[in-house]
């Protein structure tokens, strides 16, 4: 049986070359656009600044006054996260009900036009997408300009952004579960809300709470970061300390940040295990 001879040149050579060429063509403008300049890192002036800054990282700033300040900021961060998540849930809950198809009456007949429901459902869905696509820190920035510096902006930023995320996951949870009990209730003539609370809610509740706890944990992290634009919490302190190049304060705050995140992570894991 004649056997096909293998080629004498590597058949993968051309595709590889083409790929390499494409990579270079993409990389070059990329490096230009990012003003890629490793030399700037070792530039004398920035080395001096960085060196001095890094040199002040130890020892940590542990004076009583400062620690008190940090503690207050930490409590503020926790409060922002909790209040923000609460508001987010309050907003997300009704939105999720509107968006969910499981409560669609037109779907169980008589056919009064399924698209009627979609008329409301689709815009609501887009609203959810809009709310969660704009990063929470952008919301924070916008709100700081609207309601002023301070924790209020942070609370509302989380409320708005997270209502989008919670709303989406909530309705996905409704639809992933068994929707027949709710439909049966509606077919028997009960109102939509009743059908929901008796048919879907009891089963979905643990999962809803579990995800909300997870979101709270994320909110703690986000609340710290939003402080950079003035929306309250630990972030404001961190930004101040960095602007003053006070490394000791920065390392203290970072340490507290780690502990805070660990704490939130631990609480979240504990609660979610208890719910499972």
């Amino acid at each position: 049986m004649p056997v096909a001879l293998s080629p004498s040149r590597d058949p993968a050579a051309f595709p590889r070359l083409a790929f390499a060429l494409a990579a270079v063509l993409l990389l070059w403008p990329g490096l230009q656009l990012t003003e890629f300049d490793p030399a700037a890192l070792i530039d004398r002036r920035s080395r001096e600044v960085m060196g001095k800054f890094l040199g002040t990282f130890f020892p940590l700033e542990l004076s009583e006054g400062f620690l008190e300040l940090v503690l207050k900021s930490t409590l503020e961060t926790l409060a922002i996260a909790t209040a923000g998540t609460f508001l987010a849930i309050v907003l997300a809950f009704p939105l999720s009900l509107v968006v969910s198809r499981s409560l669609s009456i037109s779907r169980i007949g008589p056919r009064s036009g399924p698209w009627m429901g979609d008329f409301i459902r689709l815009p609501a869905r887009w609203l959810l997408i809009l709310l969660r696509s704009i990063p929470e820190i952008v919301w924070a920035l916008l709100l700081v300009r609207a309601v002023g510096l301070g924790p209020a902006a942070g609370v509302f930023a989380i409320a708005i952004n997270y209502s989008g995320m919670l709303g989406k996951v909530y309705f996905e949870i409704y639809e992933a579960g068994d929707t027949r009990p709710a439909r049966a209730l509606m077919e028997a003539g009960s109102g939509r809300l009743a059908a929901f609370f008796y048919g879907i809610f009891p089963v979905a509740l643990p999962e809803l709470v579990s995800y909300s706890v997870y979101r709270w944990e994320c909110a703690v992290r986000a609340s710290v970061v939003m402080g950079f634009v003035g929306a309250g919490g630990l972030g404001i302190q961190l930004e101040l300390s960095m602007r003053m190049l006070n490394g000791g304060e920065v390392s203290t705050i970072l340490l507290v940040f780690f502990l805070l995140v660990l704490l939130a992570d631990g609480i979240s894991a504990l609660l979610r295990r208890a719910l499972a």
């Binding site: 293998s6 080629p7 040149r9 590597d10 058949p11």
Partner: protein, 277 residues
């Protein structure tokens, strides 16, 4: 490359004694087959010879020195002169055959060449020649995960042939091949050994292959050597006893009963003479 094992023992994981006690001498350029039932310690013996495992007792001497006392770089160079064929070829699935074969010379090539070969194979004719010897040249640019088990085994053999080592350790190199191909590959290894004066130590499951090709056959069972003789001195009784725990008849590549020539020399008690070449 010559070896001397002096009461070498190997304990794996602190529990399993893979090699009980072996004393063995292998001269430069010798061709030795190691046979025995599963679990006899054949693979362990080869790994000890290839400095992949360190003996837990006894002394191993390679070219007169203990390889484990060598500096890292010297040991690496020693290993570059050793080629191992594995029963399950250690080839990454998405790699192409040509790259897998050329990897045999990574221990010898200058660094720039090894790195460059990743982008474009540095020696296509060389790889092809090695594959031709195992009848696999047409699969040069195929990916390893497109090959059958037997073809993969042959790629492993081709890699060692390409490496051109001074010692070839073959651990059941033809277990997935049909009898004809197996015979050809074992023959190829023997030809390589004779032509370039390479020491060849092969563990084989098929006794007929061992007896047909190798001038010296070592029987291993439960971690000790039961006989070390040229094929003409090996009797039916020895083989049956060797494989007694596993099967009533000694295994062969084509699963047909083993046929030993009628006239056998009487075994001389304790004889460990190499065959005169």
């Amino acid at each position: 490359m010559d070896f001397n094992l002096d009461r070498v023992g190997l304990t794996l994981d602190g529990k399993h004694r893979a090699i009980e006690e072996i004393s063995l001498g292998i001269a430069h350029g010798e061709r030795v087959a190691v046979i025995g039932p599963s679990g006899a310690g054949k693979t362990s013996l080869l790994r000890v010879l290839g400095t992949a495992l360190r003996p837990t007792s006894g002394r191993l001497a390679v070219e007169g020195r203990d390889p484990w006392s060598l500096a890292r770089e010297a040991l690496r160079r020693l290993r570059a002169r050793t080629g191992t064929i594995y029963q399950a070829p250690p080839l990454p699935p998405r790699q192409r055959v040509v790259t897998a074969v050329l990897a045999g010379r990574l221990g010898r090539w200058p660094l720039w060449k090894s790195y460059a070969s990743l982008a474009y194979p540095a020696d296509i004719p060389g790889a092809r020649a090695a594959l031709e010897r195992v009848d696999l040249a047409e699969r040069l640019f195929d990916r390893c995960d497109r090959l059958s088990g037997g073809q993969l085994q042959r790629v492993g053999v081709a890699r060692v042939l390409y490496q051109q080592p001074e010692l070839i350790l073959a651990d059941e190199p033809v277990s997935s091949l049909d009898p004809q191909l197996a015979d050809r590959v074992v023959g190829e290894l023997n030809r390589e050994s004779i032509a370039r004066g390479v020491t060849l130590v092969a563990s084989l499951h098929a006794v007929d292959l061992a007896l047909r090709w190798f001038p010296r056959v070592v029987g291993l069972r439960d971690g000790v050597v039961t006989f070390d003789l040229p094929p003409v001195r090996i009797t039916d009784a020895m083989l049956t006893e060797l494989y007694a725990s596993e099967s009533p008849v000694p295994p062969t590549q084509d699963n047909r009963p083993l046929e030993l020539p009628a006239a056998r020399l009487e075994p001389v008690a304790g004889a460990k003479q190499p065959l005169c070449r």
